[in-house]
Symmetry: C2
Subunit: 411 residues, 2 copies
Amino acid sequence: MNAEIIAIGSELLTPDRVDTNSLWLTERLNAIGIDVRLKTIVGDDDLRLEEAVRDAIRRTDLLIATGGLGPTEDDITRKIFARVLGRPLVLDDTVLEGIRDRFRQFGLTMTSNNERQALVPRDAEVLPNARGSAPGLLIQHERTLIVLFPGPPREMMPMFSEQIEARLEKLSHGERIRKRVMRSTGIGESALDQRIAPIYGQYSNPATTILSKPGEVEIHLTATSETAEMAEKLLDELAGRIEDELFPAIFSHRGESLEEIVGLGLTVKGYTLATAESCTGGLVAKRITDVPGSSAFFLEGHVTYSNASKTRMLGVPDSLIAEHGAVSAEVAEAMALGVKEVSGATIGVATTGIAGPGGGSEEKPVGLVYIAIADDVQAEAKPYTLFGSRSEIRERASQIALDLIRRRFLL
Amino acid sequence: MNAEIIAIGSELLTPDRVDTNSLWLTERLNAIGIDVRLKTIVGDDDLRLEEAVRDAIRRTDLLIATGGLGPTEDDITRKIFARVLGRPLVLDDTVLEGIRDRFRQFGLTMTSNNERQALVPRDAEVLPNARGSAPGLLIQHERTLIVLFPGPPREMMPMFSEQIEARLEKLSHGERIRKRVMRSTGIGESALDQRIAPIYGQYSNPATTILSKPGEVEIHLTATSETAEMAEKLLDELAGRIEDELFPAIFSHRGESLEEIVGLGLTVKGYTLATAESCTGGLVAKRITDVPGSSAFFLEGHVTYSNASKTRMLGVPDSLIAEHGAVSAEVAEAMALGVKEVSGATIGVATTGIAGPGGGSEEKPVGLVYIAIADDVQAEAKPYTLFGSRSEIRERASQIALDLIRRRFLL
């Protein structure tokens, strides 16, 4: 079974609005063995939409269109499909009553333009919309199954999941697709690929894709099989071999964030954490406190941007800063030890560096960051040379700081 | 002049990769008076691409296609366009030499599959690509101008700007479009719309769009005129009237972020800032230090997540926390005064609240946040009832804290 998607609405042609519907639909359709071959995005333009619909119906088993079902003149989907299919629009009393009810619920009187939403091509099946006034429509036309959804994702997505997905799954004879996302840090994209290419190279199924962002490399595995269970088994095997090879770089197997994993580790060990940040400016604390319930393990954070604050808040000696500079291994270590001391936390982490774009020198260039971790057993600080924009350098530094905590749990 | 865009590549049909090229191209084409009517995204599928190209050429003045120009078998763009246009592919020696040079530069020998990138449909104009090996192509076919670009945005975008945009602008007889983005905070979307609808309702040009995200409402104005200068004049008039009506809610006129505006204000006034955060967990400090050069005005941040840290780091009396609770106007004010005092900054801001999802009570529900600001003249703390997810509540609270600073500059 193959499919095409038509996204309708002039706003979808502009950079202000990304057509997330069709990306989401493609993934869900792929998962149940339906191949999306083509996608058209068309503005509120009668002639072009008519042609796009006509062409798609000629080619495809399944056509899903989103948008253009609202109450205004711009909403041309109903009209154009009725025209192409040669089916008159009929006023559906049940739908009309539903729209009236919805208005009453909110204490409003229905305006007459809303009646338009109750017009239904002859012999179409109405798909109720619990979250909006425009219902969806399902039409079998010759060999093509046509599904029309309203545009808002919060209406479309549950309608697809609840009313359409299982029906399509029954019709599909295609193979099932399952995906897995493994996230790693502390190893660059090409170094990672060199190590695991000999492994995933032995598998055409699952297929492996490697995606990189600042401080993190994702490994996406996609398995295809007759059943979902068999696809999961294929994923388990390859994922296990990749994880063994990359240990300890992989921090999550189902897409969890690094801060969630660190929060989980702190909770399990019963440890507490405090942070001392210079160049990351609060980003490490912000990420840790993104995790719900973080007050159980996160005690406090210090953003010591000025030298005076490093001394006063963390007890870093003036003389140490004077001798080595604020951006140094010595000061990073003193910050980590200091924050552990003042807070009474089990673990202290610290960052100090030059995020740029200004402030670099030949000796200490933009991107040089010292990151330190201290616990009851030891304290250590290391230099890192990070690249990218100011925000990328800060992102990478916060990633290393969080990963140093995670790696402590592996000891 | 009207246009269509075809984006080529199976990966663009999936949620892993958004087709940013066509969104960017649409905006640039609109700006020079060219109307994008339809966009097709097609996988690496010969038949469907051939049909999409054939249909587009029949309809449009300008056809821009991106992607599928690389050296592998999957890269079918050249072959399909040659077939549809009925023009044989000819090996272009200059292009071939260029690709060879590129490989030599990197100390590599060109593999034979790269020769494919030197195949050019007869009478096509080659568009050099300074950032990659695949050149672009420009072909006038009957009434349609066809431009083929490589897929990577960092190659495509400069090729369009440097080699194509000015040529299209000469051909276009359409009206020029200019946009302006005004950003506001401290007023909700519907309240804002009620106040400015009577103003922008008087103008069909510029057109006004209102977009809302947590803690911020954007007003997008789009003006169309014969010249860019006249379009800018139209924008100036409407933007001025909207700003007067909404004063002081509009914080930026050219899309600048709130933290940039706050940083600019602190710099101009010669003020310094320190932050004391509980529920925002470092987000306010992180946003302020996102601004390059922020070490000139940002002294330090305190993330006092535990009660003990509020007392020790900021001098908030135990008894005050015991009497009013950590989430209270009294504690927020004491935090702002405390951080101003310990840091010696001109301005101290503080947040304390319940970001959720847990931790709420009937008396102090999730979303209740107290935000305080203190300077030499006065200190004040106010309650805010914020809605949304944990991250939305934190985002909104940080927005209010930053905006309180900005509003001080207006006094």
